[in-house]
Point group: C2
Chain length 96, copies 2
């Protein structure tokens, strides 16, 4: 689950409503980005899928899902306790 | 999001704890299945990722994520109202 050079076009999906992340991605595309990477962890992975699907189906018809990666990430709490969470990375790319 | 001939090895992730689906998939593999397909819709897509990751990381080390598809499905309620939900399909396959 490592990504290089793509940080600028990465949308980290958090607790806000999905639409905010859709609009953030749309802004990047309107600013010339050819691809965006939608990332999330834990329960937010479900929202990441929704963000990608709404963006593609409703706003950017020439966008396609180029790659979907799933994985497990380790989180270390302040007390040093390690827990594991699921993660997803969805790479959306403009059709050539 | 259509799948043929794989129904026997499909795990539909629902509201029960993730571990039940992990064990269901493990049973299929122990019965000779070379691949299993983990499917879910809506918020349960997050649990599907966890099911796939736990199965692979903790129980079947020679399993790999062969394909992940995301999509949108339409649900029709009894009143005929159509709503859309995100969906995921994770194909796990034994390494050759």
């Amino acid at each position: 689950m490592t990504e290089e050079k793509r940080e600028d076009n990465t949308i980290y999906v958090g607790k806000k409503p999905a639409m905010g992340y859709v609009l953030a991605a749309l802004t990047q595309i309107n600013n010339g980005a050819k691809e965006v990477l939608v990332k999330a962890r834990g329960k937010l992975t479900a929202k990441a899928i929704t963000v990608a699907e709404v963006l593609k189906n409703r706003y950017v018809p020439d966008l396609e899902v180029k790659d979907v990666k799933i994985g497990t990430e380790e989180l270390t709490s302040e007390e040093g306790k390690v827990s594991r969470v699921s993660a997803i990375e969805i790479l959306l790319s403009k059709k050539a």
